[in-house]
């Protein structure tokens, strides 16, 4: 190699330029990424502040008690008594039906929403012109198994609804204003996006911890995370859930009631034919009436008074002058 000074100078300038560029780039990145204080105490994502209000002012606070052993028929009659499904569902509505699919058990055991009732509700919504109907729940047992074994999955699909199984990314933190418990807690929000009407569809069951599992308790299935921590204060969480969710309509299915060993049951001996279906717009009133079918009163279930105090509805269901129909 010849010591060509020109060549060497060019070589050196090249090196210098690249070295300089490396240093500038490193310095620039370091300046941008510099963090003099380190991470703070928490990395909480910003939380949603609440759910939309799905209730219809013009529908009022009403309730119908339909007697009969056949669920679809009872639902039809009850809705007719309340002015027809069209009162609640309009053309173009996007409806979410929150079922209770908590356990991977067959419809016979009545631990979950009955598939016949689910499919009738979907059919009625579609008949009323709903553009889309979704069915969802965040069950306790394995979601896929729950929707399969309860028959709800097949009922939803064959009736033309979209079945949404919970996925990690469907949950987003929500903080309910002034709530003691629902603070920055993951809630199944994704299925609610774009939805204009919300229907709660719950079976009537004994519940060992809270006293009863009815329409308000059914919203527990919208919670994600290790939600069973709320069992330490179950009356308050049910009341807060009722405040969080303002549904268009709730349906309490007491055709067959799980009167003992709830909320899982597991034996026909846990069930009692009560042949009643309650449809209403006031979830507190519907639950207050539901309590009577379990041989309890609203006063036996502290969450009813708590929900009423939070403004979720009225415990005095008689004041709603419930319409009674027989199928």
């Amino acid at each position: 190699m010849s010591p060509d000074p020109l060549l060497n100078r060019r070589e050196f300038m090249g090196r210098a330029a690249r070295a300089g560029a490396t240093l500038l780039a490193a310095g620039g990145i370091a300046a941008l990424a510099y963090d003099p204080t380190g991470p703070g105490p928490s990395f909480e994502e910003p939380a949603a502040s609440g759910l939309p209000d799905f209730s219809l002012a013009e529908a009022g606070r009403r309730m119908c008690i339909a007697r009969g052993a056949e669920r679809p028929r009872a639902l039809q009659l009850a809705l007719q008594a309340l002015g027809g499904i069209e009162t609640f569902i309009r053309k173009g509505d996007r409806v979410l039906i929150k079922v209770n699919a908590a356990f991977a058990s067959p419809p016979l055991l009545s631990a979950t929403s009955h598939p016949e009732l689910v499919s009738e509700m979907i059919r009625l919504c579609r008949k009323a012109g709903a553009a889309a109907v979704r069915v969802t729940d965040n069950p306790i047992n394995d979601p896929a198994s729950c929707f399969a074994l309860t028959g709800i999955g097949e009922a939803a699909r064959s009736a033309g609804a979209e079945l949404i199984l919970p996925e990690e990314r469907f949950f987003r933190p929500l903080t309910l204003k002034d709530a003691a418990l629902i603070k920055n807690w993951p809630v199944l929000l994704e299925p609610l996006s774009g939805v204009t009407k919300l229907i709660g569809l719950a079976p009537l069951k004994d519940h060992h911890r809270s006293g009863a599992s009815m329409v308000m308790k059914n919203w527990y299935g919208l919670l994600g995370g290790r939600r069973n921590i709320f069992h330490q204060d179950i009356q308050t969480i049910i009341a807060e859930l009722a405040r969080m969710v303002t549904p268009t309509l709730v349906v309490l299915d007491a055709t067959t009631t799980m009167i003992s060993n709830g909320p899982t049951g597991g034996s026909l001996a846990d069930l009692k034919e009560t042949r009643t279906l309650i449809v209403g717009t006031d979830q507190v009133a519907v639950d207050a009436f539901g309590a009577t079918l379990l041989g309890k009163t609203a006063a036996d279930l502290p969450f009813i008074a708590k929900a009423e105090a939070l403004g979720a509805g009225s415990a005095d269901y008689r004041a709603l002058s419930p319409i009674e129909v027989a199928a």
Partner: protein
């Protein structure tokens, strides 16, 4: 002064600084204690720590900015850090020198020849950097900072902190007043000693084949303005320069610029002025980077990228978390923690109670040598008025929390004190619960106010050889029909006599056939002859209030059931994780 003398002075200087910083990382105000010594400075100078945490957190934390200085030094002058500053490098060089000095020159030439295996360290670097890359969380759980396993500065800090200083303590020349223990220290020592002893086979073995920092600096030195090289004239090919070449970079052949550790032995050895440190390229040609195979690079980078997502399939950062892994107060949530911890052992070193230990596999493979608390070892649990570890952590894997935050005072009153776990009473092992022995050392030592451990009083009937039939009562003394008691056993103040009428009185003394009661019995209280009395022990059985327990482990440390403590802390309810919350 000869250039190599200057280099040796520099190496000794930085080595002494390093040892000094390790020694003074002792909580206290003396000159030889922590005071304000910048004990993390050498770790911060390590640009690999800065770069890897940049990849894993997208930030450069505080002092890690010092890495820029080393980076600039390397980009301008070559791997000066390796040859002049790195304390681990100085150890390797010293041992390597001892290993080769008595050998023949031809043997030394052979020892210091370039080996293609020197490329391995670049693959190591690629693997670790790829593992550190934080991908968007919605894609994959990633960003595992494993660089500290082999990065020389964390490695040497860990080794001196957890091996050499504790050995010095035992010899009476260490900084700790009581000998310190470190769980699993043997594995850390094995890596450290293996790295050092390998120099006896090949000098600077670690630097040449393993060191990922050397690899990073090697890559950065490719455009160094000054570099070592052969001059155009004078070289006789004697090979003396290569005999003492620390980097095995073949100075008189095509010089391997990235391998040169700037020892400058070649300059010193050459009798013909044929080697120079200058801006011109070497007359015999340069290879700026080692021969890396694309295949090898892809394999290491892809395996690195997959490492964290694959290891996390085990769920150890998710549902399968280990409740036995208790992190120091201020430690980030596990995935954020793993993105920052470099396993340097500074928290374990500074912990005044010796309660922080290097984890083995409690936190999975990724958690190897990260800090965990062991309440059986040390002088007490984790003192709830201490925040030393977070303030020493060079990467904020343990945040530098304030005392107010730890104790849940002033601005932090709303969130309450920081919890690192919850204590659970093992009722099958607890003396008052299972053995009818009064104890409650745990309750007594619980440092929070009001105490998280409270007790409920019970009176349990004591086993006696036979029913205690009374012969008579005389004022405060009960006489038994037969000798049935162990003399003195029931006079401790914890035992009570339960008389047939339901009257319970404390026993103040006893002989084989008598019980002395706390007061004289009234005539109406006197038991009938032939009636049976029982002895009861008053027990205070401990309970934990989970809303008050901070998991400090003082109770576990103090529990007299020494083998497997009867009250133990697990990470349940630790503040750092929402998912680990146990109570409302």
């Amino acid at each position: 002064m000869r250039i190599v003398t200057a280099r040796r002075v520099s190496q000794v200087f930085f080595f002494v600084v390093f040892i000094w910083f390790c020694v003074v990382a002792t909580l206290g105000k003396e000159v030889w204690q922590l005071r304000g010594w910048p004990v993390n400075w050498l770790l911060e100078l390590d640009p690999l720590v800065g770069l890897a945490t940049l990849l894993s957190t997208r930030t450069i934390y505080a002092g890690l900015l010092w890495g820029l200085a080393t980076l600039a030094l390397t980009v301008l002058l070559g791997r000066v850090f390796c040859g002049w500053i790195c304390p681990f490098g100085a150890m390797h060089q010293a041992i390597g020198y001892l290993g080769r000095r008595s050998r023949k020159l031809s043997a030394q030439l052979e020892l210091n020849r370039f080996r293609p295996a020197q490329a391995i360290k670049y693959y190591v670097l690629a693997f670790f950097l790829a593992a550190a890359v934080l991908l968007p969380r919605e894609w994959l759980s990633s960003g595992s900072l494993q660089i500290g396993l082999l990065d020389p500065l964390p490695l040497v800090h860990r080794s001196v902190n957890l091996i050499l200083l504790p050995l010095a303590d035992r010899l009476g020349v260490g900084p700790a007043p009581l000998p310190r223990f470190y769980e699993g220290a043997g594995w850390i020592a094995a890596v450290f000693l293996a790295a050092l002893f390998l120099n006896l086979w090949i000098p600077r073995f670690y630097c040449r084949f393993v060191c990922p920092l050397g690899a990073l600096l090697g890559v950065l030195s490719r455009w160094a303005l000054w570099c070592v090289g052969r001059t155009e004239e004078g070289c006789t090919g004697c090979g003396l320069c290569a005999c003492s070449c620390e980097g095995a970079c073949t100075p008189t052949e095509t010089i391997r610029t990235s391998e040169c550790v700037m020892c400058l032995n070649c300059l010193d050895e050459c009798r013909h002025d044929a080697i120079a440190y200058r801006t011109r390229p070497s007359a015999s040609g340069e290879a700026l980077l080692p021969d890396l195979s694309r295949r090898g690079f892809v394999v290491s980078a892809v395996s690195g990228l997959l490492a964290a997502p694959v290891l996390r399939l085990g769920g150890v950062t998710g549902p399968n978390w280990n409740a036995g892994l208790i992190r120091p107060p201020g430690a980030l949530a596990e995935e954020d923690f793993l993105a920052r911890c470099i396993k340097c052992g500074q928290c374990m070193r500074v912990c005044p109670t010796n309660v922080i230990h290097p984890a083995s596999l409690e936190g999975g493979i990724e958690g190897l040598w990260t800090p965990k608390l062991n309440f059986r070892i040390g002088t007490s649990g984790c003192q709830h008025t201490c925040i030393a570890c977070g303030h020493l952590c060079p990467t904020a894997a343990i945040r530098p929390i304030s005392l107010d935050e730890r104790l849940g005072r002033s601005g932090f009153a709303g969130s309450g004190p920081l919890r690192i776990g919850t204590a659970f009473v093992d009722r099958g092992r607890c003396l008052p619960w299972a053995m009818d022995k009064p104890c409650i050392v745990c309750q007594e030592n619980c440092p929070v106010s009001p105490k998280a451990i409270f007790t409920r009083e019970v009176f349990n009937t004591v086993r006696t050889r036979a029913p205690l039939t009374l012969k008579s009562a005389d004022r405060s003394r009960l006489l038994l029909a037969a000798d049935a008691l162990e003399t003195g056993r029931f006079g401790t103040g914890d035992y009570h006599a339960l008389l047939p009428a339901g009257l319970r009185l404390r026993i103040t003394a006893n002989t084989a056939g008598t019980l002395e009661l706390e007061r004289a019995l009234a005539a109406s209280e006197s038991p009938a002859a032939g009636s049976v009395c029982t002895i009861q022990v008053r027990l205070q059985q401990p309970y934990v209030d989970p809303n008050l327990c901070i998991g400090c482990g003082v109770c576990e440390h103090e529990c007299p059931v020494l083998g497997r403590r009867a009250i133990r802390v697990t990470a349940e309810n630790e503040s750092r994780s929402r998912q680990h919350r146990m109570v409302l």
